[in-house]
């Protein structure tokens, strides 16, 4: 079922997120890890706008995430040292690219759509990888940092103060997530659910399905590039792997793991995935095998995700 989050659930989520920097260290984490969870959760929730609520399988979202990453990196390094402008450039780059690619692929469906999104995702990877002189190639783009934000009366020191940066991330997250929830509760959002549920019926209700899928795709990619922009600021670094296909797979597994049909599902998926990856990669060289095994186990045993299972339990 597709229920928008209940008020009480959302209240709990927001409360936890707002207080995160104050309890994160008590459970053995650190604030930057919290920022990472929130940023990747935004990416997974953006993907899920398309995957879970429009029923369209994209396996290439890392490309637009990565354009957000490089948009910020290139702006701050070459253009001007202004964090907000960087974010704007990153989001714009991802959105425009998505609009163009989307126009080419909206007529395709199912596995074919998935395959084409994967393939198109690689274009941007190769550009970042090959265009050494500008992007730093395989070494990534370094030599730049996020810049404190001047707010006229006061100055937000997101560089020196981890907590300040966390709240900037959370602010963006809140804006994007509220916008998505609002869209899903609107007539436009309901046409997307309609397409997911039954494309033929949707078409014969007079919904031009391709147009709506394109809009959903562009919206989803816009928010994922916002996530990318924040991710770059978090790391003070742009890594070509951020726009590679394995990153796309990570987003999909986060959405599935948490529960694609639940609004907050990908947030939970992202939290589990990020913490697990953080732990496993600190313990063993062969973390890739563990992550791979984890993918397989999720598919075989938790295809409905954490929230899917909880909901089923409470329904029966």
């Amino acid at each position: 079922m597709t229920r928008l989050p209940k008020h009480s659930t959302s209240m709990v989520v927001w409360l936890l997120l707002l207080t995160l920097p104050f309890w994160m260290s008590a459970i053995g984490g650190y604030t930057a890890l919290g920022s990472r969870v929130v940023v990747l959760a935004l990416a997974a929730m953006s993907l899920n706008f398309l995957l879970g609520f429009t029923g369209v399988l994209s396996f290439g979202h890392a490309a637009y995430f990565g354009l957000g990453v490089y948009g910020v990196g290139l702006t701050l390094k070459y253009l001007l040292p202004n964090t907000l402008v960087g974010i704007a450039v990153g989001v714009l780059a991802g959105t425009i690219a998505a609009a163009v690619v989307g126009a080419l692929i909206v007529r395709l469906r199912g596995v074919y759509f998935a395959m084409v999104t994967i393939a198109f995702g690689q274009v941007f990877y190769f550009i970042a990888y090959r265009w050494n002189t500008v992007t730093g190639g395989d070494d990534g783009l370094s030599g730049w940092r996020r810049v404190p934000i001047e707010l006229g009366v006061t100055r937000l020191d997101i560089l020196g103060n981890d907590k300040a940066f966390y709240y900037l991330v959370l602010f963006c997250f809140a804006g994007a997530v509220t916008a998505m929830a609002g869209l899903l509760a609107s007539p436009f959002g309901r046409t997307l659910l309609a397409i997911r549920e039954n494309e033929r019926r949707a078409r014969f209700l007079g919904i031009p399905v391709d147009q709506h899928i394109w809009l959903s795709w562009v919206t989803s990619c816009m928010f994922v590039s916002l996530a990318g922009a924040l991710y770059a600021l978090l790391n003070n670094f742009a890594d070509p792997h951020d726009l590679r296909w394995d990153q796309s797979g990570d987003f999909v597994i986060m959405a599935v793991l948490g529960g694609m049909r639940a609004f907050w599902g990908p947030l939970i998926g992202a939290a589990i995935f990020v913490v697990l990856q953080d732990y496993v990669s600190s313990q063993t060289e062969n973390w890739m095998s563990f992550i791979g095994l984890f993918f397989i186990l999720v598919v075989l045993f938790f295809p409905r995700g954490v929230l899917g299972i909880l909901r089923r339990k409470s329904a029966s």
């Binding site: 393939a119 198109f120 690689q122 062969n286 095998s289 295809p303």
Partner: protein, 288 residues
């Protein structure tokens, strides 16, 4: 200059033949079972490494014969244990599962054989140039072209002339009818998967001799194979073959003029094909 272009065109065609071999295997599996096998590149790498390990014991020819068969056997096992469970479910799940497998294969080969490129010896008489004017026409390159050609020919003969092949093709068009007619679809899909993986293993052995063998060889070759399928048209094996050769040749020629765009060019081609003909060059209408 002409020679340089010819060299790169020829080189591109050989690479294109790898893409095609790999893409044909992917296509077989996709068409019959609706599964995008992301781990196909991993199987290719395993094929190459098995040949590398076997060679000191049974020689190049023995390895060439045996390694793809062993890879295919691994493929049969993987299909039976894992992939079979996901037929008929949202393609999302098989994608994620094979994605996880791809991770494990890449990491596994790195663990077993090390991260560095390993030397892959081919017989001496195959590595000498055949002509002094066209230095690039080494025996091995010619040999690969011939072998890839034979493999493709054998595949098409198998699909058109044998009972298994005819059933695979019929199942691709209408699985339900085939199953009603008494064909065991589980076994058919299993064998078909094995066949696809055999092609990956074969491509792996050949690629190892030309490109050198390292754990990432699979993930480097899988994306172009996707592009080959998309350009050729989903559901069409001749299309896939054509797509592979086409992008190989194109990226070969572009290498001459603009080396850093040699990868990007195939995606540009894909974009153009989708713009003009969304179902691919030889794709059937209405299939996807």
């Amino acid at each position: 200059m002409t020679q340089l272009i010819l060299y790169n065109l020829f080189n591109g065609l050989i690479i294109g033949a790898f893409y095609a071999l790999m893409a044909l295997g992917l296509s077989l599996i996709l068409n019959l079972s609706g599964v995008i096998n992301f781990a196909h590149g991993g199987f290719l790498a395993i094929g190459g490494y098995l040949a590398y390990t076997l060679m000191p014991h049974i020689g190049f020819w023995g390895a060439l014969a045996l390694a793809p068969v062993l890879t295919a056997a691994l493929g049969l096992m993987v299909e039976r244990i894992l992939i079979r469970r996901l037929y008929g479910r949202d393609p999302l799940y098989s994608l994620l599962l094979t994605f996880g497998l791809a991770f494990m294969f890449e990491d596994g080969t790195r663990y077993l054989w090390g991260p560095a490129t390993v030397p892959f010896a081919i017989p001496d008489w195959l590595s000498t140039p055949l002509s002094s004017d066209f230095f690039f026409l080494t025996g091995y390159r010619m040999f690969m072209v011939v072998l890839a050609f034979v493999a493709v020919l054998a595949l098409f003969l198998l699909l058109n002339r044998t009972r298994l092949g005819i059933r695979i093709r019929a199942g691709t068009l209408d699985l339900e009818t085939v199953s009603v007619l008494g064909v065991n679809v589980r076994i058919l899909r299993n064998l078909n998967f094995g066949l696809g993986i055999y092609l990956a293993g074969l491509a792996g052995v050949l690629a190892a001799g030309m490109l050198g063998l390292q754990p990432t060889i699979g993930s480097a070759l899988i994306m172009p194979s996707f592009v080959a399928i998309i350009i050729g048209g989903l559901g069409s094996l001749p299309g896939t073959l054509m797509g592979g050769l086409l992008i190989g040749a194109a990226s070969g020629v572009v290498t001459v003029f603009f080396p850093s765009a040699s990868e990007a060019v195939i995606y540009v081609m894909m974009g153009l094909v989708l713009l003009v003909r969304p179902r691919g060059l030889l794709g059937e209408e209405g299939r996807f």
